[in-house]
């Protein structure tokens, strides 16, 4: 009898330790297991493990990207867009992320709400789109320092040392090619860098603000009604479908006020939407 009790106790201890081992997997282990499940075609298991790894606080674009893939394979386009967008924020120049996001978007129902900006505008704003918040902030800082340095150069423009350096460096200066003198050339360079600084500062500021406010959301429900007010008794203005991006402008007791292209706005219930 005693031997049996000991056996039971040992078995229970073993099970508990195994369970602990199961639950105490590191994010990297979860990530690897999810990848294996994905490759085996078990997308539900892959989603589960990816989600757990993401819930542990890991901010890896590869993890978010894979999670988007797993949702895509399950046909959940809303969550696929959500995670691809999150991956894109961290790795905006990753071709795979961009490609999969484009593919997912092409399958969405609300195609008319996908604000297709003109090509020239996309090209012009590529620097904004293809940089992370940290990169935008860093570039802004560097440009700001450069503006100050150019300002110092401008102040000491008559010094012998600076004149000597200027003669060597200014061969490539467009201002000099235009026939501007040293002061004008430095002033032009300063103005251009200042302009760039302003652009990047605006880009960085808008990104930081968007991150802080989490003002972009993705519709997760296959179809979600957008009401005229934060109440189910309010009239339905229009309907949106999974994967559609919205701007979140306000929040009230489980309701979010959203805006969409074309001056569309209304209130949507929170479970139907996730913020990026």
């Amino acid at each position: 009898m005693r031997v049996r009790m000991v056996w039971i106790a040992a078995t229970l201890t073993l099970c508990a330790s195994l369970a602990r081992a199961e639950t105490s997997q590191t994010p990297a282990q979860l990530f690897g297991r999810a990848n294996a499940a994905y490759e085996a075609g078990n997308y539900a298991a892959a989603v589960d493990d990816y989600e757990r790894a993401a819930a542990s606080g890991v901010t890896a674009p590869d993890l978010f990207y894979n999670l988007g893939n797993a949702y895509f394979k399950q046909g959940d386009l809303g969550r696929a867009v959500l995670w691809f967008e999150r991956a894109r924020r961290l790795a905006p120049r990753d071709d795979d992320v961009r490609e999969n996001l484009d593919l997912t978007r092409s399958l969405l129902r609300d195609q008319e709400l996908l604000a297709a900006s003109p090509r020239w505008r996309s090209a012009l704003l590529a620097w904004h789109r293809d940089t992370t918040t940290a990169e935008s902030v860093a570039v802004t800082s560097i440009l700001f320092t450069l503006v100050c340095a150019l300002g110092i150069c401008f102040v000491f423009r008559d010094s012998e040392t600076l004149s000597r350096v200027y003669r060597r460096v200014s061969i490539l200066s467009p201002g000099r090619l235009l026939g501007l003198d040293k002061a004008q050339d430095l002033g032009l360079a300063m103005a251009l860098v200042l302009l760039l600084t302003g652009a990047f500062a605006y880009s960085a500021f808008s990104k930081v603000r968007a991150e802080d406010a989490r003002s972009t959301g993705v519709v997760l429900a296959e179809e979600a009604s957008v009401f005229s007010g934060p109440s189910p008794n309010a009239s339905v203005q229009f309907k949106v479908h999974e994967g559609t991006l919205v701007s979140v402008r306000d929040e009230r007791a489980g309701w979010l006020r959203v805006e969409l292209p074309g001056d569309l706005s209304g209130w949507i219930q929170e479970p139907s939407l996730a913020r990026i």
């Binding site: 990297a28 901010t59 893939n69 490609e99 800082s141 930081v208």
Partner: protein
Amino acid sequence: MRVRACFMAALMLLSAPAWLRAEDVAVRATIEPTTVEVGGQALLTIVVEGKFRRGGQPELPPLADFDVFESGTSQSFQFVNGQAHSSLQYNYILSPRKEGNFRIDPIRYTLDDKVFTANAVTLSVVAGSAGVIPPAGGTTTPNRSGGHGTTPSSDESIFVASSVDRDTVYVNQQVTWSLGYYTDGRVELLRSPNYSPPSAEGFWVEDLPPQSKYYRNLHGRQYLVSEIKRGYFPTAPGTYRIGEARVDIVLDTMNRRNAFDDFFSRRGGFGEPRTLTTDPVEIVVKPLPTRGKPAEFSGIVAGNLTVSIVSDKQVVQVGEPINVSVEINGVGNMGTIAPPKLAELPQFKAYESGSSSDSFKKDYVVSGRRKFDYVMVPQVEGTFTIPGVRVAYFDPELKLYQTAQSADVHVEVKPGTQEDGRKVIYAGGGDDFEVINRDVRFIHPVPAHLTVASGHFYQSKLFLAAHALPLLALGLSVMVERKRRRLRSDIGFARASRAMREAEKKLAQADRAFRAGNAEDGFGRVHAAVVGYFADRANAPTAGLTSDDIETYLRASGAGDDTVASVRDIMAACDAARYAVGAASAERGLQIAARSRDVIASLERGRR
């Protein structure tokens, strides 16, 4: 009827390669066999291959010594990396009228205003037994199995007569129309007869080679009959008419030759033109019976129809395309068969990728083969069965609807191993390629380092504060440069700025002189330091600056009496030491120098 004719024409156009583009085209011609007997058959094949958009029509060179019959076309095309590779084949049956070696000149083929030429081919024609069936027992009977139409009753030396094998048929059932040219050899022709086929509105027409010849005894005369045949396929129910055929001949009234010389090989001379015509033939076309018509019946009228389906692969990976071909063979007009529908399988995406057709005319009966190609792309792994294709048709001989069915095709689909999981293949049917399998790119491996979310560097106050440094540096540089400029341009400011520094320097020299025991020199340096300081301050020349001047300057500057008194004492001590022998002591000098420092420092503090 007109609508049906338009539909048939549209089908023809659809089956024609109108989507191709003239580019890198090769045209070649072959003939098989290269030696035939007179009246025999040689198959002339013209193959057009390459990348082109719109098919043309071969222009055959003059073939006066041959009877030429079209024997169908076939086409195939595929897309490789977005390029259309097409193959068009035109078949002609040549039936030589006389022996000899013949060279068929290069055949011209026009595509998008460009002319391509095929190679020339040669054909040897030898005399043979084919052609005329010798009379047996003095009487020859027509070599045909009865029919309907004109019964030859003329006692002319030369005449034509037409007949059909049946005058009541179903829609799309073949009617074989025959034209017999009768001659008893008593008349001579100056040139080959010119034959105009009958009009045949409402029919799909096929020439039926070869021309046959036989003897027939009519009204006690022996006639040589040259007979050609055509197949007529009515396109809609109703009563239709195969019009009159014309044969224009020119009789040689001056000369007579052997009655049994080849009818189509006469040449030259003047004579009596004559037109021989046949009587029109009425054909009653019955609609297809409604009773027993299968739901999937799509209008095929044929006999002995078979259907088969084959795939080029039985084991594939997800996303790997499978080429599936459906082939339909049967007796009848197979050129108008529409593509059968493959069963819709959600695990596959299916696309039509081309079609081809061949027609055969054995024993004056039209039969054919129609092949439809599909590309099927499996979307998921597993073992699947592509159900066999069912084709319902009406057999006009049996007067029954029949159904032909192919066997099933089994395909095993394995998981894809491609890195990006995406495969692009190209399907025919249009100018644009189509991405068939759209899938997300493959997952990424686990990165070497996984970072846990934490605050960003740009959110720290230190980072924000650091941006003040470049601004401070800029401000400082502005101040420095401003001072430098003033020092350069304002002598008074420059002297005043360095007044204390200069005085300190001289006082230090005085200290060294006092410590070295050279009191007189030391006092002289103290004096120079004090006078120089005030001269720099007042931007006045050092020479000639007296104690009174300094006092005046001090009073004007608002200095106190103590300061004025101290300066006066310093100046007096210096003068005494310099001019009174033995009055200078080193200790006293150090005290005076220290006092001078204090006074100058006090004045500098007051100035600020």
